[in-house]
Amino acid sequence: MSDELKDIALAEAYLNDALSEEEKRVVEKRRQDDPDFARLVDDMDVMMAGSKAAFRQEVQEQLQELEKTLPRIPLDEAALILNDMDIPAAEEEDDTLQSSEEDSSKNRRWLYLIALLLIILAVITWALWPQPKAHEQLFAKYFEAPPVERSNSRSPIAALQQKADAAYQTGQYAAAIPLYDQLYREYGDSLSLYYLGMAQMANGNGEAAVESLNTVAELPEDIRYRQLQFYLALAHLQEGDRKAATDLLRNLDGEAAEALRQEMEKAFSQ
């Protein structure tokens, strides 16, 4: 065997860690002293790595050929989301644990970021959410649709009255409104007009309620004057006419009227 082949054999054994400690020391000393030998050891390291790389290249080329025969890999969003469902935790590689920690730390950072964004979003939503105005708040506090009080009637419209009252009593104001309207317009039932006003208020239509209750107030019949004025004030309040509401309340006795008037003064003076 030539000297070069002997040196290749020595370099290969050294690189494969197949030498004794003493032999290793000799090789290392020679590497320091003999640049040609040092280059040869270095080159042998590269030749062996190159042989392995050639093998990997061969496998990779085989897989590239195989890939050409396989269906295209779906890479749309849905496919990528589904992919998440079965990803193994890669732990065997040397530095994979560190990598896993980095990934999990990255995931945590994302979670914190998402949580922070949600909080900011919630605060902005809360700040921008239309807050009920003062008059709406006061209306909601003081308005409660009064129960129907009607003496038993044997008139021909009794059935229609019962139907309207039943809808009203069960909170179906939208259904009660046309019935009360019919009872007033077709049969002149003034009490139905009163409850029409209540149903309209309960249904959120202060303007219509003002009209209905004003009409009741102008009727010759004396229908629950005090309550009527109070509810009329509430109807004005509901549609945002504070002055009309205050004027009506000022002429009324009673705790509720007084309390509402004071609260209105307080709320609207701010």
């Binding site: 065997m1 070069e4 082949l5 290749i8 054999a9 290969e12 040869l40 080159d43 042998m44 590269v46 030749m47 062996m48 790595a49 190159g50 042989s51 392995k52 790389a53 050639a54 093998f55 990997r56 290249q57 496998v59 990779q60 085989q62 897989l63 590239q64 195989l66 890939e67 396989l70 890999i73 779906p74 890479l75 496919a79 990528l80 992919n83 998440d84 079965d86 990803i87 193994p88 935790a89 890669a90 732990e91 065997e92 590689e93 530095d95 994979t96 990598s99």
Partner: protein, 179 residues
Amino acid sequence: MAISSTYELSTIKQLYIRHRVQLVQWLVKMYAFDPGEATELAQSAFAIFAERAAAGSLPSFERAGLEKTYLFAIAKNKAREQLRLRKRTTALSEQAVGIQDEEQEREAEAEKRSRIELASKAFAKLGEKCQQLLKLAIVFKTPMQDIAQQMDYENAQTVKTRKYKCLQRLRTLYTQSTN
């Protein structure tokens, strides 16, 4: 699928067919590689897997699905290596000054990688027998005696001498390609 330490290309191909979609999708999603890069990376991970299988250095996959975990771990390291390289290229293209130790280390790593690639190309220029012998000896770590039987050499010593000659030839081809 149980993977024995004995390398079989057909087994690697079966594994590839089984896991390629998920691996490529994962590389695209996690590391934002384009589909072509991700497919190449996935194939390169399978090639490393194959090399380890050939050398008998794979861990034992007694539990189902562990080979997949192992594959993903290889791919993850390859992806990170690729991203490091990309980062380095970007830094150099921006003419970053004040290269530090880490950068020098990366330079050395890149240089070695480039030399290995040249050696790999030189390997392809070797004769068929040398290629087979070096593959058996270096990649598959086959004992000399077995190579002698497989390749019809007289004995283990003859194989050893042939191997050194093949390495010498490889070095010559490599040196020629660098000049």
